[in-house]
């Protein structure tokens, strides 16, 4: 009974947390359409989340694309299917690896930094100071970051997809003996609009989730350095899990329903 009670308590706590995050998300969305709007904060968040994430996204994508080409070539050789490298790299990067890896990189880089920054603001009373300066923390801190992630992560995913495919192309044409023109033609011919739509949709959902979770954990952090540390760690764990779960659901919605 004790074990069952403990499991029950954990499940209830998890459901309560999901409910609180959901309410937080609804509040954030309600503030998106209500003035005042903080354009400078949005621009700063776009720079931080979008532009400054490009190097890590680019490097992740190019190495993944290259490794994918090598794996498909080596695996395909077992049943004489080496020629499918362009098609599988394209579909693998655009449908799955591009959005998921960009999402996880955003969780590592952006969610953690948002959670740590806002949690530090909370423990140093900067959030209270915002309120006393007639500034709603949800509007000033959460909305710009969530909007910036919603806008920029699909763009990052598109860039990651292209660079990942290029990584596969570079390895395939440089070391595996593929013809460059044929590789590009096979890639372009094989991809369908739905692949790209699913990729960008996943990017938008993952970006929204990553920024929102960072803000939620920051706003609800405990006191002191331990509170900031726990908020940062918890935000990255939660964002990574939500991104992977959402990826499963979205893949099902796009490709099996």
């Amino acid at each position: 009974m004790t074990i069952l009670a403990a499991i029950g308590r954990s499940v209830l706590a998890l459901l309560a947390s999901v409910g609180r995050v959901f309410i937080f998300a609804v509040q954030a969305l309600s503030h998106v359409v209500r003035p005042p709007f903080y354009h400078k904060e949005l621009a700063a968040a776009l720079l931080n989340i979008g532009w400054l994430s490009l190097p890590v996204v680019g490097l992740t994508a190019i190495f993944t694309g290259g490794a994918l080409a090598l794996q498909i070539y080596a695996g395909g050789a077992r049943f004489n299917a080496e020629a499918v490298v362009p098609q599988i790299v394209a579909i693998g990067m655009v449908r799955e690896l591009g959005p998921v890896l960009v999402g996880l990189m955003i969780a590592a880089r952006v969610t953690s930094s948002i959670a740590a920054e806002i949690a530090t603001m909370k423990v140093t009373e900067q959030i209270d100071a915002l309120i006393t300066l007639s500034t709603h923390p949800m509007k000033y801190l959460t909305v710009p970051r969530v909007l910036a992630a919603l806008i920029s992560v699909p763009v990052l995913v598109a860039v990651g997809d292209i660079i990942g495919v290029f990584g596969g192309y570079a390895v395939a044409t440089g070391t595996l003996g593929f013809n460059p023109a044929a590789y590009i033609k096979n890639t372009v011919d094989f991809l369908e609009p739905l692949d790209i739509i699913s990729s960008l949709t996943k990017g938008a959902v993952f970006g929204f989730a990553a920024a929102l979770i960072g803000c939620y954990f920051g706003m609800h952090s405990g006191r002191g350095a331990m509170g900031v540390g726990a908020a940062t760690k918890g935000s990255v764990e939660a964002a990574a899990m939500v991104i992977l779960a959402a990826n499963f659901v979205l893949t099902g919605v796009f490709f099996t329903l």
């Binding site: 903080y38 009373e125 900067q126 100071a129 006393t132």
Partner: protein, 245 residues
């Protein structure tokens, strides 16, 4: 100006405020004293609307507290400064003047910020620095400049001298007294520092065990006849207030 009637607040089984009654007249400086954990900050946060009381009534300028209207004419100096470390000093000071209903052109806001920095004894060269580049005393002054930037009618000071050396504490106390007198603002200060009390206060309220144990003019604190206040201001270990050991 500010009136708290029968305000109670509990956190689980911890009854922090047990029917707090307090009145601060317009244009006066009230200092609330009391030991750590007696609910001074909670009382302040109840007035600000950051904490919702379980019961009781808080009125500001005769009307039940409308937080937005109240905050528009309010300034606060936080214990740790609470400066925004992503913004330079002048933008911290002019924060309210750069956005919202009190927004002014950027150049004008900067000019006002520099004027307010001068008012608290800081030069224009500080304006473009970031808070992390300033000493604790300078951060406190910037916090004070931010609190008075929009010429508020009501100013709260939360432990204004905590963490400062005695000389800097004296400077801050003198600044607060000058500013409050000059602006005619209503001030509420929370502190443990009896030097601050004597420098800043018109009236003093002693909070202990969730209620105001004594309140009156600062001139009366040395002969109040109140055992709680006597023990506190003389820092005695023996008395009605049981220190945690």
């Amino acid at each position: 100006m500010i009136k708290m009637e029968g305000v109670t607040k509990s956190f689980g089984s911890n009854h922090v405020l047990k029917g707090l009654d307090l009145e601060i007249a317009r244009g006066t400086s009230m200092v609330i004293i009391g030991g750590s954990g007696t609910g001074k900050s909670i009382a302040l946060k109840c007035i600000l609307g950051l904490v919702t009381p379980d019961a009781g009534r808080i009125t500001v300028a005769g009307g039940t507290s409308d937080r937005d209207a109240f905050l528009a004419r309010f300034g606060m100096l936080f214990q740790g400064g609470a400066l925004f470390d992503s913004l330079p000093v002048w933008q911290n000071v002019a924060f309210r003047l750069l956005r919202g209903s009190l927004a002014k052109p950027r150049a004008e806001a900067r000019e006002i910020a520099i004027h307010k920095l001068r008012r608290v004894g800081l030069g224009a060269d500080v304006a473009d620095r970031f808070p992390s580049e300033l000493s604790g005393g300078m951060q406190k002054r910037v916090g004070l400049a931010r609190a008075i930037a929009a010429d508020p009618e009501i100013i709260f000071f939360d432990e204004p001298t905590t963490g400062l050396d005695p000389i800097m504490a004296g400077v801050i106390n003198a600044l607060i007294r000058e500013i409050v007198t000059e602006m005619g603002a209503t001030a509420m200060t929370i502190t443990h520092d009896m030097t601050s009390v004597r420098a800043i206060a018109d009236n003093v309220a002693m909070l202990h065990d969730g209620v105001i144990q004594w309140s009156g003019p600062v001139a009366d604190i040395d002969h109040s006849g109140n055992a709680h206040l006597d023990q506190f201001i003389h820092g005695r270990a023996e008395g009605p207030i049981q220190p945690l050991r």
